[in-house]
């Protein structure tokens, strides 16, 4: 019997599209409750990792485990059950154009034939979580980019999945909206114990996710705090991809200290000092 320590595991996973290697014997794990930031340039296979985890595509070789269950050989019908445990936030939100915000968020429950009263309650709760209850009757084309992604997050949260996959949720957004999205991810990690893979190429996202955390203060309000100079207990790791290989897997501090020229170039910060980075 496998001991379930990790929410997601990749063992020697390889994948090629039209003869071009996208992933090269890739292995890593995402622990329960951990947020794993996946970084790398465009076309390095970041989004492919998420699609493999969801079983939307199959690897050429290697094994993938989700919540202790090997999904590599699963047929589409078997994957449906696994996908109930996973929420996916797509790059541009991928909202259903023909459905209102309400119906988009309600989609999963409608498919499960949940009573309408219960659906309504859940949809309102989810939209309140992403602070969008006033947009409930709008159609996706009436929303801004940031709102679409927040609705995407609300939709992914329905059914309280324990694993959430974010596909560049902050790309192309203004810094304030991007921060809002990161804070939502923090809330899910720190309050709901959600494990996640967070694909991004924004350095600011690493700073927020790896150096900040959410707690409830004495009045029960949610407060975002910065780790500052204290011992880092934030449950976040960083993976850096390059040409289908993992060239870095560790903490944010280790990333800033890495000597690899590609990482140094990527961070655009030749002599990074983690203490001063996010202060």
């Amino acid at each position: 019997m496998r001991k379930q320590l990790n929410a997601i595991e990749f063992h020697d996973v390889s994948l090629a599209f039209n003869g071009r290697r996208v992933l090269n014997r890739m292995s890593f794990v995402v622990r329960y409750g951990e947020a794993k930031i996946i970084m790398g340039g465009s076309g390095t296979g970041k989004s492919t990792l998420l699609r493999l985890t969801l079983g939307l595509i199959k690897p050429d070789s290697g094994r993938i485990f989700v919540d202790g269950e090997e999904i590599t050989g699963y047929a589409e019908e078997q994957m449906m059950a696994v996908r109930q445990k996973i929420g996916m936030v797509f790059q541009e939100g991928a909202l259903f154009d023909s459905l209102s915000v309400y119906d988009n968020v309600a989609y999963r429950l409608r498919e499960q034939r949940v009573p309408e009263a219960e659906i309504e309650q859940t949809v309102h709760r989810m939209l309140r979580f992403v602070d969008l209850d006033d947009a409930i009757e709008k159609m996706p084309n009436e929303l801004s980019g940031g709102m679409r992604r927040r609705v995407g997050i609300a939709r992914a949260l329905v059914g309280s999945p324990k694993i959430i996959l974010y596909d560049e949720p902050t790309a192309g957004l203004d810094p304030i909206t991007a921060r809002t999205i990161c804070e939502l991810a923090l809330k899910l990690r720190d309050l709901e114990d959600v494990s996640s893979m967070f694909v991004t190429h924004r350095l600011k996202d690493i700073q927020v996710l790896a150096e900040e955390y959410v707690v409830r203060d004495d009045e029960g309000n949610l407060v975002v705090e910065h780790e500052g100079g204290r011992l880092c207990l934030v449950n976040t790791g960083v993976i850096m991809l390059k040409d289908g290989d993992i060239i870095f897997n560790g903490s944010d501090e280790e990333l800033y200290a890495a000597a690899d020229p590609y990482i140094v170039q990527f961070l655009d910060r030749p002599s990074a000092d983690p203490q001063s980075a996010g202060a």
Binding site: R51, L54, L56, E76, M80, R83, Q84, I86, G87, M88, F90, Q91, E92, A94, L95, F96, D97, Y107, R108, E111, Q112, R113, R155
Partner: protein, 254 residues
Amino acid sequence: MSLIIRGITQIQEITLLTWRVLRGIFRKPFYLRETIVQMDVLGVGSVVIILLTGVAIGAVLALNSASTLKRFGATGVTGQLVTLSMVREIGPLLACIMLAGRVGSGIAAELGSMLVSEQIDAMRALGTDPVKKLVTPRVLALVIVAPALTVICDGAGVLGGVFVSISLMNQSAGVYLGSVRDALDFNEIVGGVIKPLIFGFIVAIVGCYMGLSTEGGTVGVGRSTTRSVVISSITIILSNFVLTRLILALLLER
């Protein structure tokens, strides 16, 4: 060579999709509401253009045939000629090629855009099989609606013929309609409805397949749309020959 391989691969994939659609009809969950919505969007939405084309073609048929028949003093069978042409060939072909243009293209464009904007992936991620949710209702809707639209097209054609015969050829409506009645028997009508059943299926499955196999962003959506119209129209016209042969042998020439 690669073109041949691509063609064979596409036929294989369309066959697989057909199999998944047929299997989906009998397995839960059932999407009855989607099917009815599609019947409305694809079918009811097409009634006006089908009526218009039917009337126009029926009128032209009467116009052409009546002048020829007049030389043999046989203008009395104009109604029969128009009706048989409409019910056997022109009605099913015209209605379903119009459907390929109006509806097949729409299906390919809609599913193609959903694919490139990751909505199909989102659907799968949310635990829904897109074939059952999107393809099966469209196929069912068109298989039901295409024969109905063909009957409407046939009727419109006959009416178009009546209009021309009375107003331009100075025939009596009684003579025309009498010859229409002579032309129609049960097998004729059944034969005329079998064809659009198959054609409707072709339009839906080709449109869905082309949409779901879209590659290359919005340009790809345009390409899929064009391909769906071209391939379904050609398939309809080619299969029409085989179907006509079968229907003649099994129903009409016994």
